[in-house]
Amino acid sequence: MTAILSVLQLLIFPAGIFLILISCIYEWLDRRLVAQFQNRVGPRWFQPLADILKLLSKEEIVPISVNRTLFILLPIFAFACVMTAALYVPMFGMESVIGYPGDLIITMYLLSAMTVSLGMAGANSMNRFAVVGATRTLTQLFAYEGPFMLALLIPALVAHSWEIDDVAIYASNHTWMILTYPIGFAIALIGLIGKLELSPFDAPEAESEIVSGVLSEYSGRGLALFHIAKNVELVVGLALISAFYLGGIGNLLFFTIKTLALLMLISLLQSTLTRLRIDQTVGLWWQIGALLSLGQLLIIILARIL
């Protein structure tokens, strides 16, 4: 019985098909909000779903010079990573499906593995644009990953636990951490923008410079899987930040309101800020982001000692 329940949780609810459909709605909201900020009408509500179905029904071309196995397996690996990460994160007002001490590290590792597989896909494509995109993706990964990780570890340090559910429960019983640790919140949110490669950190897939970055050679199924993986990563990231910094698990209504508010903030930043060069991105993260998150960490440690 428990086995059937686990399979259902894995494939249908809360991970699996349900999460894919929800992430489609989040992508639509993001695109719609950006369109509204740009004074446009924007896409219809079923647009991401139609895009994904169309990509899945299109031909997939494997270029002759690539490693075929990697080219076919990397999208599946990236997709599997984010779907697994979704199991550890409390979403839609419920506790996470699986929880054990240390799952925060696993989740962050899985989210990074998705970006790494994206970079590997680009490097494997043997296309000059994809290779440049892969270089930028991995460079950017090393830029934001440290501060982003520290920003997610701050609530864990405060709650004395490495388990996401414990931290979320601690967060719901105390003052919202966005008020007590605002620097950590800002770094986590901006780190999420970097992770999703949205503007201003969209140098890896800058359409005006390097056609579509790492995904230049992908078509059909591979592109669709990377597309879904990015969307699910958006939902997982929003859920993680709202659980840590915006008062814990809450219920379905509060989860929706909090994540939509965060999404609106991300869309606003996306449509107002211009693209940073890759050296500016790295400089920003290591000169300002890392110092700020280390400072926040220092404050916590000093407060605990004194």
Binding site: R31, A35, K54, E60, I61, S212, E217, Y218
Partner: protein, 193 residues
């Protein structure tokens, strides 16, 4: 760049005799109608059509509400929008871009030059006639340059083409694609020493 076709499910006609497959076909064609991603190629245009084409993604006309997205690479695109008469220089590139688009693919010829050669008809550096001499064209949008409304009307006509079942990739293939070396021989006869 040569490429191999894999996972080419779209070549298999699934719709015969099975209602479930008919449903799959319907979902597929719904998705295709609602998400035509376009790539724009200038094969020798004076840039007038290109400027008019770009206005359709601006706030005033915004074709994202029809699901149109400008793709960066031919690998992501469904619709190839060609402007301008095809010059001898750009013909091979046009063919290559057309071949890089995964099936099913559609072509929209934009402007008088793409339709017939326009003012560049009989020019020494262009092929005689329009884009359809090189690749098969689904929808023609006349005008010099066409107004953005006309471009959007052409796009909607193209969606009708997709809806009416012209999604079989075998029909989409050009009747004859000469190889690049053959093309060069065809157009510029080798100088006899």
């Amino acid at each position: 760049m040569t490429e191999k076709n894999t996972f080419d499910l779209s070549n298999i006609d699934l719709s015969k005799g099975n209602p479930r497959n008919a449903l799959v076909d319907r979902i597929r064609s719904w998705a295709r109608i609602n998400s035509p991603w376009a790539i724009h190629y200038n094969s020798g245009s004076c840039n007038g059509c290109d400027i008019e084409l770009l206005t359709i993604i601006t706030p005033r006309y915004d074709v994202e509400r029809l699901g149109v997205k400008m793709a960066g690479t031919p690998r992501h695109a469904d619709v190839l929008v060609v402007t301008g008469s095809v010059t001898l220089q750009s013909r091979d590139r046009l063919l290559r871009i057309y071949n890089q688009i995964p099936d099913p693919k559609f072509v929209l010829a934009l402007g008088s030059c793409a339709l017939s050669g326009g003012v560049f008809h009989d020019c020494y550096c262009c092929i005689q006639g329009g884009v359809d001499k090189v690749i098969p064209v689904d929808v023609y949008v006349p005008g010099c340059p066409p107004r953005p409304e006309a471009v959007i009307y052409g796009l909607v006509k193209l969606l009708d083409v997709i809806k009416n079942g012209k999604t079989n990739p075998t029909e989409n293939k050009p009747t004859l694609i000469p190889s690049e070396s053959e093309l060069i021989d065809l157009e510029r006869p080798a100088e006899s020493a």
